[in-house]
């Protein structure tokens, strides 16, 4: 293994049409410059990274480092998000690294048809995220139980109320998702984030992504937020690169 500290590799963020007009982010992962490698009708958004940081050993180590991971993942998204709305864009998953520029060109050449089709499909679209949280319902307090039987009955009523509320909330969320899916170009319901990941105590009932025409975002956001249920909080995020809509099986 070469110990040199200056050996570089090519980190690939995503693929855009070669004639895309967008201003690349100033800085990518590990504070590297963002560059473009063009081959035929496609261009890869890349950065030259240090193998000391992105080589196999280093990457394996760094992936365990939460601070490094968060910073680098955010930088990856920052580069791609900077181009959202300006060009169709196929986002690559984190950590796609090639030995040299030639290998990046080979990638563009080998998968040209696939990338071109994906870019066409995504043209003019962005991804919006919609998360729905179930807020605590205020429950009317019952009188202090006067007997064991009374206590059990109260528990039963509380359970019934909670179950009914959840069931109703799930119906609403399902309806919302179906409606949003019907007005979007694509829809994907992911596993809701558990509280430790979402950072919120309230249960997440929906964690979905939609492919939306860029010029229809306001209407879509309005549709997502159009509800009068005080028990639900709806959070719209984005616009994102179409992270959720670039694998073949997700095409609708």
């Amino acid at each position: 293994m070469i110990q040199s500290g200056v050996e570089v590799a090519w980190y690939v963020y995503g693929v855009v049409p070669a004639d895309a007009s967008f201003k690349p982010a100033a800085e990518g992962v590990a504070s590297t410059r963002v560059e473009v490698v063009t081959e035929g009708g496609l261009a890869a958004i890349v950065g030259r990274v240090d193998l000391d940081e992105f080589g196999e050993e280093a990457l394996r180590r760094n992936l365990e480092d939460r601070a490094w991971l968060e910073q680098t993942v955010s930088a990856h998204d920052g580069v791609l998000s900077g181009a959202v709305g300006m060009t169709p864009l196929v986002p690559l998953r984190f950590g796609t690294v090639f030995r040299d520029e030639t290998r990046v060109r080979e990638l563009l050449g080998a998968r040209e048809a696939e990338f071109t089709a994906a870019l066409e499909r995504l043209r003019g679209c962005v991804e919006l995220g919609v998360k729905v949280f179930l807020l605590d319902e205020e429950r009317s307090e019952e009188a202090k139980p006067t007997s064991g039987r009374d206590y059990l009955l109260q528990k039963q009523r509380a359970r019934d109320a909670t179950s009914a509320a959840l069931s109703k909330a799930l119906d609403r969320v399902r309806d919302l998702h179906e409606h949003l899916a019907s007005i979007a170009g694509g829809a994907r319901a992911n596993s809701p984030q558990p509280p430790e990941l979402s950072g919120r105590r309230e249960p997440m009932l929906l964690n979905a992504a939609y492919l939306v025409r860029a010029n229809e975002q306001p209407e879509f956001v309005a549709a997502a937020e159009d509800h009068d249920d005080p028990g639900l909080e709806i959070v719209v995020t984005g616009p994102w690169p179409a992270y959720n809509f670039v694998e073949a099986e997700e095409a609708e």
Partner: protein, 105 residues
């Protein structure tokens, strides 16, 4: 040719720390998978994603809280089993019952 270069509007401050989970989820778990030259990446990142879910996210805990319904019911997959729903609701009721503070007046 590119789409009209309107500057994208950001909703609800996704750059805030609270949105980091969404960034992690998308960048680590979504996006097209390409086999690069650094072979460690794909497998390790899949493991890492699992780790994030298990360690950071603790899927079991989510289940304890009764929010595991998606595992059986991704909306788009259609038909579901009624008995399963009943079972799930019963479990939810039990969990909710356990969590309840009903002694105060």
């Amino acid at each position: 040719m590119s789409t009209p270069g309107q500057s994208p509007q950001r909703y609800l401050g996704r750059r805030e720390a609270a949105q980091l989970p969404d960034v992690l989820e998308r960048v680590l778990d979504k996006g097209i998978v390409i086999a690069g030259d650094i072979q460690v990446s794909l497998l390790d990142i899949e493991l890492l994603t699992i780790k994030l879910r298990l360690l950071v996210a603790s899927a079991d805990k989510a289940k304890e809280m009764g929010i595991d319904w998606w595992e059986h019911d991704p909306f788009l997959k259609g038909g579901r089993n009624g008995d399963e729903l009943e079972d799930r609701l019963r479990r939810l009721e039990q969990k909710a019952g356990i969590a309840e503070r009903s002694e105060e007046s």
